[in-house]
Symmetry: C2
Subunit: 301 residues, 2 copies
């Protein structure tokens, strides 16, 4: 029995970690990224690096795309010198970029027209879990797509939700999650700066709220960045201008109003407009502090 040949296009912190997890489980892994430093990191981890996705995908059983959005996914798969055509017959594309379900359905149709399988497979969990093989994957697709993707999924994820038998369902779950995650980050930043304005001791606020009905996963995870004054990007503001932007687009398409999510998007946009788009998403608190003149904790040296 030969090892599954996997290809990863997009070797950022998520894609590289996913590649490492597959290498550790004995898959052959090739990969490509526009950034030569990212390709080098894959090679150091034991994978084969390429500048072009098409070369990396040559003869692969599984092609994983972990790029920024639907447009990039479409470009690397089906653009000039696209990677999809290079897979083995019967191979599967695992598409992990966050995107609207309609985009996932379009990509699935293009993929199936080539005689390949498509798994709509957005991910959750962050870079540390990606590297450890402990991601959560919210997947939908045909039984054949799941079967072909199985060795890669098992190597990358602690939890694999099988959410339905067609593309778009996984993407829908991810967008619902991102709506909540984005609102909760914005609310956490609003609440912590309000607490600072009221003169409260912020570490005590963190302790009390995380044990109370006001808690959220995001409050618990992001507020320590505010307490440490550390806005180095674990996940950047621009991720949420993008993801809440997709939520907003979907809402317009579906004629479905989402006032709370729309307001949270404006908070991230204000933060990006204030020059913090590439900083940690807890920077929404710094943006509010800047406007209101409150003091937040300084970085610890």
């Amino acid at each position: 029995m030969t090892a599954t040949k996997a290809c990863v296009i997009g070797l950022g912190s998520m894609g590289l970690g996913m590649a490492q997890s597959m290498l550790r489980k004995g898959l052959e892994v090739a990969g490509a990224d526009l950034n030569p430093a990212a390709v080098k990191r894959l090679e150091e981890a034991g994978g084969r690096g390429f500048a072009s996705g098409a070369e990396a995908a040559s003869d692969a059983d599984v092609l994983l795309t972990v790029v920024v959005n639907a447009a990039q996914t479409d470009a690397v798969l089906f653009g000039g010198n696209g990677a999809a055509a290079r897979l083995r017959k019967g191979g599967v594309i695992i598409s992990s970029a966050t995107m609207a379900p309609a985009e996932a359905r379009k990509l699935a149709a293009k993929t199936e027209a080539l005689g390949l399988h498509y798994l709509d497979a957005p991910i959750s969990g962050g870079a540390v879990k990606a590297a450890a093989g402990h991601l959560t994957i919210m997947a939908s697709g045909t039984a054949d797509a799941f079967a072909a993707a199985r060795p890669a999924l098992d190597a990358m994820a602690a939890t694999i939700y099988e959410l339905g038998n067609e593309a778009g369902i996984g993407a829908s779950f991810k967008m619902v999650n991102q709506l909540l995650a984005g609102v909760h980050i914005a609310a956490a930043c609003e609440a912590m700066t309000f607490a600072a304005k009221l003169g409260l001791d912020l570490p005590t606020v963190y302790k009390v709220i995380t044990a109370s009905a006001g808690n959220s996963w995001m409050f618990e995870n992001r507020v320590p960045h505010i307490l440490d004054g550390d806005y180095s990007p674990r996940s950047a503001v621009e991720i949420f201008t993008k993801d809440l932007g997709i939520v907003g687009d979907m809402g317009r398409d579906e004629k479905f109003p989402m006032p709370v999510a729309a307001t949270a998007l404006q908070m991230f946009l204000m933060t990006a407009a204030a020059g913090m788009g590439k900083d940690d998403d807890a920077s929404v608190a710094r943006m509010i502090a800047k406007i209101t003149g409150i003091e937040l904790p300084k970085p610890q040296v």
Copy 2:
């Protein structure tokens, strides 16, 4: 050693439960409520019931106010035939209604002018925890106020946060918690109705989100009401039009903008305007369903 004499004014689901917890721990408990049925329930639990707060408070060591807001607290304590003047010298008022910190400070000053102690002591945890003596109390006040309140606090609460040595700090913590709690309920309702619009299986959404980064305490607690189609009030929409209203008032007073909380308030107001003010706060989802024409789960018979 004689038993502490406690008085509870406001025998709604919280106040009655707190009275029961104190009775169980051997305190003498008198109580008053405008609603004769509530007074009767206290008597059935072993307490002495009164129609007037002043009578109930006569000679008490500890007077607990669990009414709707600051204005009601002020009226029962210091209005015509007010209860505060009836306490034993050196007694303590434990003030548990949710209110702005400035209101708590005013009530403390009036209390101290009578030679009494004031504990700013908002509560969290709901009716079940109130009845079990497992509340969380976010308290601030002088050391003397804490000492005088101790037997009552220990009987009512699993967790007592001692947050500072003056009134207003407890209230501030509570308002920060309510800001988050209110936003998270509105976001949960927005997300679940959006999921319904996308055609997702709602129990699966609950399962996936509660295990993901989009989770919140309120999502976990309130979404089952939506899944069951059960909007009988565990906590009513009007609690949040009130509490997010206080947050909004504080923001205007402090010149501190809170766009996400302000939007969440509008969602609760829309729900109250649609006739659901006294229903469970998960009714924000029903309001959205009504506007958008989506179907939510029907009540199980």
